[in-house]
Symmetry: C3
Subunit: 341 residues, 3 copies
């Protein structure tokens, strides 16, 4: 298990956070999100300091304070207790704070810093603005897997021919592929050369006229899995998935899908979405079963080969970030690996 607390994680989409408080969990800790009078989001520990009732049971009162359901204590997004109903004599000024998390809102996502009452030492990952001719779709998937297992699954190539047989990669003739792994301080990238056009449905939709394939997989700390495909001249797909460690064995992925295609979007999406959904369902099934075994046997006991190109790097980067030793190893390493796919 790797737990990186000092980092930004996506807790919800902007559109999910309206007038009502929203309960979320991050790294096993219950949190509550709400918006103040100006619409700025805040995030508190979801436990009233008075009698420990979840603040998410309450409501946001006019003025943008979060009111506890039990005794009506009111909290600002800073965590300051602004009112203890019934108490005489300046009760409002006392320090009866609810611990708070730093919050950012960008790209239609609400980000929360993974520690209570901490000053962030960085800003969330900035998505590039959408270029002309591209469409963007936002999706969340939930997996019963550790952060590491879920991110490796999102970036792992060899499993696609088996777990997603027929959907993603076929079982036909195999090509030798050259993968170049580039590691730097906070990320790892794998570039694939010689990859045939994906067979099956996905390929037919993305690149109807065939053509060459350019393909990169990237892991970026603390929890970002990015897959980029260029097929032929016109198709370009980038999936940037932000992993949220809900608890040790539950991970959510907020995926931002940017794509350009020779076909119109209204034609592509009805085909692509059911396929993507089937792939997620197959991944979720395997992750849940994997997690059951990991729990039953008291931990992961993995036996990697040289074609597990990215998983061991994710693990090392997460453990470095967890222990605060990031950048202590040599970085900017590049390595080439050949395999069949």
């Amino acid at each position: 298990m790797a737990r990186v607390a000092r980092a930004w994680y996506v807790l919800c989409e902007s559109r999910e956070l309206g007038q009502r408080p929203l309960a979320r969990e991050l790294l096993g800790v219950p949190l509550v999100l709400f918006r103040d009078a100006e619409g700025k989001p805040g995030c508190l520990l979801d436990r009233c300091p008075h009698r420990n009732v979840p603040l998410s049971l309450g409501r946001v009162v006019p003025g943008g304070r979060l009111e506890c359901r039990y005794h009506g204590w009111q909290f600002e997004t800073s965590g300051r207790c602004a009112l203890v109903p019934g108490l005489l004599g300046g009760s409002e000024t006392r320090e009866r704070r609810a611990p708070a998390c730093a919050v950012r809102e960008a790209h239609g996502l609400v980000w929360v810093w993974g520690g209570l009452d901490q000053q962030p030492d960085a800003e969330p990952f900035a998505l590039l603005p959408l270029e002309r001719g591209y469409a963007r779709v936002l999706r969340r998937v939930a997996a019963e897997g550790t952060l590491h297992a879920t991110l490796e699954n999102a970036l792992d190539v060899p499993h696609t021919a088996f777990l997603h047989r027929g959907l993603f990669r076929g079982a036909g003739k195999k090509n030798e592929i050259l993968a170049t792994v580039r590691r730097s301080a906070d990320r790892v990238e794998v570039e694939y050369q010689g990859e045939p056009r994906p067979s099956g449905l996905v390929g037919a939709i993305l690149s109807p006229s065939g053509g060459t394939v350019e393909h990169w997989d990237r892991f970026i700390l603390p929890s970002i899995a990015q897959v980029e495909y260029r097929l032929g001249r016109e198709s370009h797909l980038t999936v940037t998935a932000f992993g949220t460690p809900v608890s040790d064995f539950v991970t959510h992925l907020y995926a931002v899908v940017d794509f350009r295609s020779p076909l119109p979007n209204w034609l592509v999406r009805p085909f692509l979405e059911p396929v993507a959904l089937s792939i997620f369902r197959q991944d979720a099934t395997v992750l849940r079963a994997q997690t059951e075994n990991v729990r039953a046997f008291g931990g992961e006991q993995y036996m990697s080969t040289e074609i597990d190109l990215i998983g061991p790097h994710i693990w090392r980067l997460l453990k470095q970030a967890e222990s605060g030793t990031l950048g202590s190893e040599e970085t900017s390493v590049e390595r080439a690996v050949r395999f069949l796919a």
Copy 2:
């Protein structure tokens, strides 16, 4: 957590204990209740000493013994094993006891002493006989809360304006109220002065013509919460709730409601009962959510103010009773507190 074992608790209503054994849990221990040939209730550990099968799966045989479902061993209410079927040669006289609890039956309730094979050093709380013109109703409610949290909830005034908004106390203009807290060796009483007639439905039903309010809340060891209201000349309501610590996080309340009202009972009860039920449901919801947080965070972490008039006293009395240090502090303290309600 406070666990007071050496005390009387209500395990069922008299009418619930008929011809069949009744399984109950007290302080996490499974118990079985049954009546002997004279109808006197007994209470044994719900585990046959022979093969550990719950005795409550069995039946009461003619003669008032409890027969185990598995091998037919028979037990008297004293716990004595009176028969091992098949065994030759005086088997009935041997000591193969099932541990037993002392039992009392009064006021339509069956009380059990919270320790196995112990001699009680007191008698259960005696209710006063019902006066002329009063009606009595008996109700049980179940809460997923500790004994302390459930009893505080039953006696806590400030939460009523928030959790029971509209049902119990309104959100209108507030009055300054004087509360007098009186502590003695085994109890604490709070008397309220200056309290307006309850607004909302409850007030309208109890005191249609208005009038002054007299109000006392009492906690009496080991687990009794008593609320007494006098409204105007004619309305008088006393709720005496006996708390049963089923397990660490489950508490049952056996509430005896005595009341006199200017309106006839047949008119009052159809109005009062749905309101009381709604109140209990709201309390149960908050107690369950509070308990989840208490368990997730490894204990209660409360931040009380001076208007938490009774909860901290309940806590101290329970802990004194648990550790056997009752009466070691100075008693008969009286303190006045002002607040808005």
Copy 3:
């Protein structure tokens, strides 16, 4: 709790193991069974050494190897990893084994040795071939009980008059019965003399014309419960139940029922099976309740009498087998006990 790992246990019937891998649990360990190209059964730890996904999610490929669902690694029944798809350069020869259990198939049952990568030091219990005029039925029942509790239940006589009242033994006049207990190194046998014909349905079906009864109950290590009845000249019934310790509190019994009866089989079975099913349901209910108490109280706390003829012997033999001290006590003891039934 007694856990005997170095022994053979039945994991499934032969007919249950077809083209698809079969997930089973033994002593709390997840295992997967499958057949190789020749139809020979194999058994591996149900966890791929690569990413810990259960191999039972996969499929058996032509050639009789088990293919992991996630990345397609292929395993032989020996546990040898024969293929890592995509890996270049002799990957198939490397040792990436899945731990394996020894397997035997006989009497329509598949037996597995209770340790990974161990050489068995014995062979499974051999059933005698079915004699002329006999019929054989194979049945599995599942109980929520320890191996010891489930086997004692299968062989215990005194409970039948209570738990199975009306079905198995009546509540009528009792006879004095002589039981002779014979112990040897790996087993215990009880022979009953003076037993009346079973009353109730079972007796009426098995021995319509009455006659004397001969009855033996046997426990044979590691987990065999055998009941043999001869009624009159013609009826003969032997139930040999192989106990499988699925986990600490779940036991399966694979029962082989051999019988000869004066009535034709097509007439006997429709009567006998519903009765047997009712008996198993009653036993399962009591075992589940017993197990709940055993878990709640942190272990079995039994109070046996001299008419618990076989349970204490089962316990001692299991504990001797577990600790490897079998045969250290004097064996071939014979003891007579009288009781009423």
